[in-house]
Symmetry: none
Subunit: 217 residues, 2 copies
Amino acid sequence: MAHILIVEDDQDINNLIAKNLKLVGHTYRQTFDGMEAVKMITENIFDLVLLDIMLPGIDGFEVLKKTSAEPIIFITAKDGLEHKLNGLSLGADDYIVKPFEMLELLARIDVVLRRAQKNTTIFSLDNAVVNLSDRTVTVGGELVDLSPREYELLEVLIKNQNIALSRDKLLELAWGYDYMGETRTVDNHIQKLRSKLGWEERIKTVYKLGYRLEVKR
Amino acid sequence: MAHILIVEDDQDINNLIAKNLKLVGHTYRQTFDGMEAVKMITENIFDLVLLDIMLPGIDGFEVLKKTSAEPIIFITAKDGLEHKLNGLSLGADDYIVKPFEMLELLARIDVVLRRAQKNTTIFSLDNAVVNLSDRTVTVGGELVDLSPREYELLEVLIKNQNIALSRDKLLELAWGYDYMGETRTVDNHIQKLRSKLGWEERIKTVYKLGYRLEVKR
DNA sequence: CTCACTTGTCATGAAGTTGTCACGATAAGA
DNA sequence: TCTTATCGTGACAACTTCATGACAAGTGAG
């Protein structure tokens, strides 16, 4: 279940949504004001934001522009086309028009969350589990120590899974932009990762190019 | 721009959508029937499917259940809540209710496409799928290892499909401009590609000239 | 149908690339 | 200050690629 921020100036609606979220097992926080919403969103602790467009202070579009992080579902009283277009092009994940059925809102929340789940912070492959939020790695349940560079490299590989990355590219992404070192350094760290995670077969060497983390789809 | 399948039994609406897709630069194919839609979707050549729920034969929900591959936007005349819930829980990416503004449909299409990030350039032929963006090749789902030269050559063939290329030309394109070697080298690599991709019948020998990747359109 | 020529196929070894290990410099922590 | 861990470097072994040559099979002009 998810932690959801409700941004809606109408207290009754806000509470109604809150009640229903609670009912299906989500947790939430409520705010009634645009500026406060921006602050709360930047805390970065929510899995989803329900965002009313008409707000005191700054409106929902402004809030989105200022933050644009979490998945967002717009809520609006207006059915105006220009509102929808604006919201969608700004990158909202969905859109719902007041008055709406609570069940529909809950369904749309599920869809958006399910979709966002794909960008989950946990990555697992074979026996290894990489928790990208708290930077831990376990293999077969046992915690594995990775040095900082090893972890950086691992993250890069995971974020670019199935894509062949050149040594230069890896240096750029995991070491820093203009690192000027021997490219054999990359090999060494790759070896470390392979053996620590048991990924000898997973991190493929792409001859004359670099490496690729291979994940079957 | 995307290749979109329109599944809608009302000819007027179908054509109207088609016209507008064309207007903004998408390509499309049209069908008016559920069973045919299933067949076409399984061809796997569309970036997005616009799917009416009420269809002759089998309805949109059934179509989705039978295929569930591409991104899908449901279209329906009914605003019934149970329809929406059903569609969303089945995994539709979006939902639009007739009568709708064409501009809104186009905006939703953009959102879904952006989300699906079909920026991957993929070339597929028979069982083989060549992913030109991340430099991977699969045959029947299995990843195939290609050496650098083999991959270069493959790319050249794909980019010049249906065109006969001389050995000299191939050397120039895949090896580098002033490569000075025996041209028999090309033959060897062609053989490798043929057997690795199962393209014995696809890469045709053009006697006294060179080779051609044959793709029917 | 024949023969000259072209292409398919395989084996080989040289050149080049990657795996692996050990060492030492440096930084971090006690 | 001393200890410890990290990381870049170099050396060498192991491996991969790929051009080459040899020969078999295929092709087409006459």
